[in-house]
Symmetry: C2
Subunit: 470 residues, 2 copies
């Protein structure tokens, strides 16, 4: 299946050329002394915190980044390819609030975090677990990153998201990954188990926290997403094209730094820019302009032969209602069809990036599943064209009782997590439930039946010991 | 912007070849004597009701259908191109029930029909009005088609959908169109104001009602959609490929008939096939397999150089909840991105095809608008890349107060019908409304402020006179 191409090749070239001009003449601020030293040594012009990149230098270092890589799960059956034809889904990331239909919106806790780690583990469609599923506000600041990493290691054997909270966050991720896998830290680069999100300080800057983490991960050969969230009309020009130039310049500047630190360090080209909601002067995560940016991000990343990040079940809705459904699907459909490789916020996110919803997590899981079904494509061959069967059944016949139907429907049809496809009467008899209400029952059922994957007792003890000494 | 291509060229050829085999060896039943006569005279082999088509005959007649055409509105500013780069949206079609948040689900009436005609007229995103927006169950059977046509002529000056209820329905549509436009019936072919939906009796058949209407419209040179709704696993093979062969054979057989009756009669290649909900043995309108079929339909129609019909804001949901939002958007995104030209059921439809919802109409209007915004594409040029502005603002600056932002945001950003993009606190202060509740207020506001377009008094009188004599 071909990818959806939003821009033509000449347009992509124009955006690239404008980006190179900005990197050379306008520059990018790096608010972290160690980064400035590396960039200067690598050949950039540095004036204070501002760094200027020659076009040839940008192209040379960007070319060193790998075209695809694999995240190695504790359970090898759950390894995930980042790149190529694969679209990998990761759950909600960053909210300080959590909500469900019973208890409403509230400050999130470690228990909520662990619940979302369990839901992500149980999902057929979520490929990568962890990150800041929700902020564990009841855990002291210095322990939060470690407790989140522990939760995801305890309740899941999928690849996971690392901590982006400065050099220290990266070091904790690296140390705990090494404990979990029972290998030396220097061996993690061979089979990176995690990927971490780094986001620029738009427009055209990076702060010390992000750079500290980014440098540590790059040196260790651990995977990371170098991402930009420009807001058209607020932190970037109001045009999609101008916003793309800002986004592109930020991402390329970050990728150059990673490749100067370690040639071939695995990176993802990330874009989650969107439009401002002009009436409020804030970000709109559910705008169609966000979707345009997702398509463009996939294309720019392909142009640079680097895996892409974009999309997500994003919405401006406050509750898991129709707005949440339509905006999330809009964004996820484009990510899938444009060939995005890594999709953060694939399940549970509400209100831009403010809240994680238990019910929306379940609903979004189906969105991921439906998008995967569509992306799967078909194999047109004699058996699937089924002309013999059509000839046998003939005009006016039926296929419901054919052996062919029973033998193949499970392979052909997506089986939804929440299936509401019966009659109106049946729906009424079952209590006239909204999809959110059906999701409410489902997440409780999943948590009630949850079985954690095995984690050896000594690994568990060593992880807890590591956290205790922080 | 390129279209999304689901299958590769070889796959399309294989589906075409399998279709030709079915048309030649299996045949299609035509349950209407006048159609059998035309097909026999045109060169088909006819045995009883069964008609067999030689490949060369199929290809020769299909090639006569136009690659695009225009629907001419009473108001020329609202003419609609069917074909090319345009995606035209038409509202809900066929439901016998109507629902809104105040009164719930009930049998629909002429008043409901006229309300949906008004909402369709007022919409910025709906291009074509009318059809069976809802069934006017309170009108005697013999007057229904005419009253619906009258309602749409009275409350809208957009192109409209004609009646598909047999030869008589077509004749009423033709007669009333001629009265409305003040031209002779024989002149309607020059500027067809309407388009009508014809659907095969799957698998591989057409009934007398559809054929009566289809022949009448073809002879008059009026536009029609020749469509198939095969249910994979029920009325067609369980594979998407086998279902496509059934769909393709039915549509091509219908199109051959139209072109035998009048060379160049405007037709649309229609596909709305989907998967069976196996648990219930019924159609699933919200399945991802439906979306696969939409993409394939657009491709097959392009292969034949005929405009396509597919997609729609389709869902299995019973109410305008998150399921309605996500499934409707999934279908509409694919229709837009695959380059479908005519999208029926673009607003208001629920429960497969059973119910029209006032609230969902408003929500779907935004789905159409967002899809149009995405499909619009961008024009990458110096002004839009805005490098000068980026240089001026520099790293760490802001764009919210820039003249450039104020001058361009209305052109750049989609302005939603229902805008819920503010903070959680603002949403709570405004009553914590779901999108459906916000839509409830909006449709009432639109109907309360509705102003019908001018319809000359003598035309109005002649239309009523025509209806009285039915």
């Amino acid at each position: 299946m071909r990818h959806f191409e939003y821009f033509n090749k000449t347009d992509v070239q124009k955006i690239h050329a404008a980006t190179l001009y900005v990197l050379e003449k306008v520059g990018v601020d790096f608010g972290y002394e160690p980064a400035l030293k590396v960039l200067a040594k690598g050949g950039c012009k540095v004036e204070g915190e501002r760094v200027f990149f020659l076009p040839k230098l940008v192209e040379a270092f960007v070319a060193k980044a790998p075209g695809q890589f694999t995240l190695y799960a504790r359970n090898p059956e759950k390894n995930v390819v980042i790149g190529c034809e694969n679209t990998a889904f990761a759950p909600c990331y960053g909210p300080a609030f959590v909500t469900d239909l019973d208890r409403g919106r509230r400050s999130s806790t470690l228990e909520d975090f662990n619940n979302f780690a369990k839901l992500s583990h149980a999902s057929r469609n979520i490929d990568i677990n962890g990150g800041i599923l929700v902020e564990p506000n009841d855990v002291p600041m210095d322990k939060r990153a470690a407790e989140m990493l522990y939760g995801v290691m305890r309740y899941s054997d999928k690849p996971f998201m690392g901590s982006a909270i400065g050099k220290a966050g990266a070091q904790k991720t690296i140390a705990m990954s090494a404990i979990m896998l029972g290998v030396g830290e220097e061996r993690l680069a061979d089979k990176p188990p995690s990927i971490t999100l780094q986001t620029a300080r738009t427009p055209l800057g990076y702060d010390d926290r992000m750079l500290g983490a980014m440098m540590e991960y790059a040196k260790a050969g651990m995977a990371q997403v170098v991402s930009s969230l420009a807001i058209a009309g607020a932190t970037a020009p109001v045009t999609m094209e101008g916003t793309l130039v800002i986004q592109n310049a930020e991402v390329l500047a970050g990728i150059v730094l990673t490749q100067m630190l370690r040639e071939g360090a695995p990176v993802v080209f990330g874009g989650s820019s969107s439009a401002a909601a002009m009436r409020y002067g804030t970000l709109s995560a559910g705008a169609p302009e966000m979707v345009v940016n997702t398509a463009a991000t996939a294309q720019m990343a392909r142009f640079y032969s680097i895996p892409s990040r974009g999309g997500g079940a994003l919405t401006d809705a406050k509750i898991p209602d129709a707005q949440a459904g339509m905006e999330s699907m809009m964004s996820q459909m484009m990510a899938s069809m444009a060939g995005v490789h890594f999709v953060l916020h694939s399940a549970g996110i509400l209100e831009g990036y403010m809240t994680s919803s238990y019910e929306k997590f379940i609903m979004d899981d189906d969105i991921c599943g439906m998008c995967k079904r569509i992306r799967r494509g078909e194999t047109v061959n004699i058996e699937k064209l089924a002309v013999d069967l059509i000839e046998e059944v003939g005009p006016g016949g039926e296929y419901l009782t054919q052996m062919h139907t029973f033998q193949n429907f499970r392979k052909e049809f997506y089986a939804p997590v929440l299936e509401e496809r019966g009659t109106y009467d049946a729906w009424e008899t079952n209590g006239s439930l909204t999809l959110a209400q059906q999701a409410n029952a489902k997440w409780k059922e999943i948590l009630a039946n949850f079985e954690a994957p095995d984690l050896p007792a000594d690994v568990d003890r060593d992880l807890r010991k590591y956290i205790d000494q922080i």
